[in-house]
Subunit: 206 residues, 2 copies
DNA sequence: CGGTTGACAATATGTCCATATTGAAACCAG
DNA sequence: CTGGTTTCAATATGGACATATTGTCAACCG
């Protein structure tokens, strides 16, 4: 039905306003009234599409996590199409999650603001964990393939390494955003440590 | 002067109340009124000791970071006194920062709640970065010593590794608190990766 | 011993917020 | 044309909050 699509657009419009406000001033900045104003609609319309503020935020968060997944997906597919190594795909996929430019920095801030609240809110944690688990599984899969083609030593456990890499990237992002670590240093650290997991050369490449 | 000491106690009393409230319900849970009630004092008294709510929170945060530093300090000093390896000191020092039991979990939640807000607030970021830099420097120093006594291979850069380890522990803590990674898995991952930095055996031990 | 000052309590003020309510268009069914 | 339903806007309500103001009481001091 076309009306359902229209509704979806409205919700997206509101969710985008939420993202902009969160990027600017954290989750506290996204009040219902301000969101309505930012989206150019009335408070009543927001209420019409979301039963409560929590609903609105949760919906916005699902969009944010979906975008994060898309970013990683697109990047690793690009590498695949250019016949790159798994190491390249992993490195670039993980780099995509670091706040290295203004665009990724904004996305990172939004994503992190939600993550911070998720510590106290199981429903938000569920939204996050689902996507995060998918990305981590993809990563572990990549490392497993690295075993087969010789990029990764056999004693590297895919699961454990995936957990470790995901956690480190998360922490690096925070440190960069807090100004505790320069972006360049974070990038270098990440590359060096991905290299540690993928020291070998793929047998199918020259 | 004894009165200054008295004042310090009052501030500590209030800061402790803030910590309890933040542990229970995030930074939003710590309103001035609730903090006063939790500390068993009046709102007026809180205002008397802190010029603003931000002041109060910043003070509480400095105490939290100081405790984090103390924990690491105490732990590594313990190892030192028992003539343990640097690897043991580093491992235990980093473990201390993971939310593995209720006590550390509470402390981690408080610390993280502040860190999340610090993303938008340079003054809180400064409080955090100072302590964090000190801990990271200590860690890098330990890795450097590992070079000398043979625990750490020469091609491991102390600075880069310290940044990486700190970031990974930060991320692991978040994943554990969100329920994305079981505490046991986080611990195993951490131990395995500390082992990767310190594969060698200290020449001064049997 | 009267007054000044520091340490607090109680209350007042005004802002901001989530949500409920009311109502008005537009659209559709009969 | 009519009555109902969907979709939205405007406003009302009530609570929570940070902070200012005022009041109180004791100690210290000249």
């Amino acid at each position: 039905m076309a009306t359902e699509e229209y509704h979806e657009q409205r919700r997206a419009q509101i969710a985008e306003a939420v993202e902009r406000l969160v990027a600017a001033g954290g989750l506290d900045g996204a009040t219902v009234a301000r969101t309505a104003a930012e989206a150019g609609v009335s408070v009543g319309l927001v209420q019409h599409y979301f039963a409560s503020k929590d609903d609105m935020l949760r919906y916005a968060y699902t969009r944010v996590t979906a975008r994060a997944m898309d970013r990683v997906d697109r990047r690793s597919r690009e590498i695949e199409q250019h016949h790159g190594t798994i190491r390249q795909a992993v490195r670039d996929g993980l780099c995509e999650r670091l706040p290295l430019d203004e665009d990724r920095r904004a996305h990172w801030r939004v994503s992190f603001a939600f993550a911070a609240r998720a510590v106290d809110r199981p429903d938000l944690a569920a939204v996050r964990n689902e996507t995060e688990a998918a990305i981590r599984a993809r990563l572990a899969e990549g490392i497993g393939h690295g075993h087969e083609c010789g990029e990764v030593p056999e004693d590297v456990d895919p699961q454990t390494s995936a957990v470790w890499l995901m956690a480190a990237v998360e922490g690096l992002g925070l440190h960069v955003c807090l100004g505790a670590v320069p972006a360049a240093a974070a990038l270098e650290t990440l590359e060096r440590n991905v290299m540690a997991v993928f020291p070998g050369r793929c047998r199918q490449h020259d």
